[in-house]
Symmetry: C2
Subunit: 226 residues, 2 copies
DNA sequence: ACAAAAGTGTTCTTAATACACCCATGT
DNA sequence: ACATGGGTGTATTAAGAACACTTTTGT
């Protein structure tokens, strides 16, 4: 845990990101293979130790860029996890702060290797190996949060062109929620959620009947229960 | 920031709790007055630095007990906040992890002073002074989360007897959400949310018609939007 | 003219909202 | 008998779920 490196002097805080994509109706998450101990050679979520002199936001973005090459992605913080008893040293407390993001794997150029990683790969979320640290638990938390965010925010923006059709959006929802929807009811529901708006344009994507184009709203109001 | 104390060696993580109560339809939060710099003599949320060798859960409970005397309270973690540039030292990064809890101020014996605090007081949430650190921001986050939790969990358990009436529950909801409800519709809604269940008992609280008793469910299912 | 993908509308049921009347008790 | 707080019911409107037909286009 590199206590001799000045930047890690006040170590004990990890920023850990679950970076999701959806490909052919399958939700996937980016994992990297660790080069060093602890958990050498194991797959892990993207992340690492926060430096002493940086904000959370800087830290999580720096870690993502270093270990995956991804830049300018929108992050959502969702939880904090204890990571105690990692080593035999006493007085060694570690916590992991969980973030999640959604990116389009087709637009992303993923770096495969860096100073501390051996490989990087998109894993189907129902085929995840045993991960380093508490990353399986963190990933589960991220997935739960992701399912909430897609109905409350425009987090899926990055997975779609700036204007998109309902069938395209529906396929992504079905991939993430692992559930199928009725075409007619899905459109009504999404519009009533207030996350998208009609552009009054149409596009012919597949040589069949043209589809209407929608776009994400910038301001999204979450409905209250009471 | 006591770098000479071994327990704070890996300092940089604060656990900060917004401890709420509701009294006479008013939501209140417990604040403590700081004895030391930084922010000497200012009011602040209950909390402090996590030790190196403790879990988050231990740390937040220890801080609460030391600074308020409260024990065995149920905590909900809701967010992480940067607290950069606190001192002139370089390489000084601090983050605050936000927790919230609900307690019954009438049952709670609050200690007024300790090693690092001068006073402790319940403050009406629409009369909060400028607080130490980013505590005003953290408190706002806590309030937002509290409003979500009361419709999804049994977090209000601590504010009510184990069996309670709908009018009692309604007053608390109205205090927290700062909104009034129709008696008939409130009962229907709360039951449909699935947070309480009927005990088939009645009680006479005020010498008028007896009221039905309800209790919180242990397992509460949150309804999904999609 | 037909197959494929996309759009829209209707019925039925369930949940929200608004509102009015009856019940149990103490004085 | 009446005032007070508490319980229940109904009518109207809005949202969810289930389901079928029509439109556009390329071959």
């Amino acid at each position: 845990m590199r206590l001799n490196n000045k930047l890690y002097e006040n170590q004990g805080v990890h920023v850990i990101s679950s970076i999701f994509t959806v490909e052919n109706g399958k939700t996937k998450v980016l994992l990297i293979k660790r080069k060093n101990d602890p958990y050498k050679d194991m797959w892990a979520l993207v992340g690492g130790a926060l430096y002493n002199n940086e904000t959370l936001d800087n830290g999580v973005k720096r870690e993502i860029e270093e270990k995956s090459g991804l830049k300018n992605i929108e992050l959502h913080q969702f939880g904090v996890y204890d990571e105690l008893g990692l080593t035999n040293e006493t007085n060694m407390r570690m916590i992991s702060i969980g973030y999640l993001a959604v990116v389009d794997s087709k637009k992303a150029e993923i770096i495969k290797e860096n100073r501390t990683t051996l490989d990087a790969e998109w894993f189907d979320i129902d085929n995840i190996p045993k991960l380093a640290f508490k990353h399986n638990e963190i990933l589960n938390g991220a997935l739960t949060k992701l399912k909430e965010l897609i109905v409350q925010t425009n987090i899926l923006k990055s997975l779609l062109p700036s204007e998109f059709t309902m069938p395209e959006l529906q396929k992504i929802f079905e991939g993430i929620l692992n559930k199928e929807f009725d075409r007619r009811n899905f459109r009504k529901k999404i519009i009533s959620l207030g996350v998208v708006e009609d552009t009054n344009k149409e596009v012919n994507l597949n040589g069949k009947r043209p589809a209407k184009l929608y776009k994400f709203k910038n301001k999204i109001e979450v409905k209250k229960v009471l």
